[in-house]
Amino acid sequence: MKQYQAEIANNPAVEMIHVSLDRDKNAAQKWAAKEGFPWPTVMMDKIKESGFEDYMPRAVPNYKLLSKDGKIVAEGKAKVFAKAAELTKEET
């Protein structure tokens, strides 16, 4: 959360999207409310429609950096945040 606030929240070139793999919407909602998630979420029943089904990981948590055209640019939390910073440093 701190890394999101510091590096992403005010960066217009990057948006963080949470894809919830909770089948129980109430559980997902309680968790998001408790943590105060500041990012938008795609719920489990909307994953196919969102297009993120094509990027489903084998295990969670999982981070992927996608270009606006859907190309995977980086994967793994550290690599994703580092690459996002590198790619957008002149745009922030």
Partner: protein
């Protein structure tokens, strides 16, 4: 009513009043007037861009405008017009993205508001998306 909905409602109200249509601008010395639609103001309100009646976009110093016009540029009405223009620009850009296009469909995105998820729409068209897959368990 959330802030975004409030702004959208206010913007619609402005539209119905014709505030997004051309307004009369006056030079600083009051000697000249012209018709045009506000299109942009830079961050420090040093320059303003106005779409002239003939369709030409003109950018000039706000110091050339009357006090009334400068007050308008600082006011809520101008901010709402600019916010609406930004929303329209972002919406169009999102439609041209593989990722953004799908995310703009109604009901795809939600965001926690207090204790519950509420429908959410992106207000900017980013170049990159960090997709965070996770679950509460």
């Amino acid at each position: 009513m959330n802030l975004r909905l409030l702004l959208a409602t206010a913007s619609l109200a402005l539209l119905s009043q014709g505030s997004l249509t051309a307004r009369t601008w006056t030079s600083a010395d009051g000697s000249k007037t012209f018709e045009g639609k506000l299109r942009a103001v830079d961050e420090n309100r040093i320059t303003v861009s106005v779409l002239m009646k003939g369709g030409k976009l003109v950018t000039f110093a706000t110091s050339l405008l009357s006090e009334k016009d400068n007050a308008f540029l600082k006011g809520e009405e101008a901010q709402m017009i600019l916010a609406r223009l930004a929303d329209e620009g972002a919406a169009e850009a999102l439609q041209n993205q593989k990722i953004g296009k799908r995310l703009t469909k109604a009901g795809i995105l939600s965001k926690i508001e207090g204790e519950v998820f509420a429908n959410h729409q992106l207000t900017r068209a980013p170049e990159y998306y960090i997709v965070y897959f996770s679950a509460s368990w």
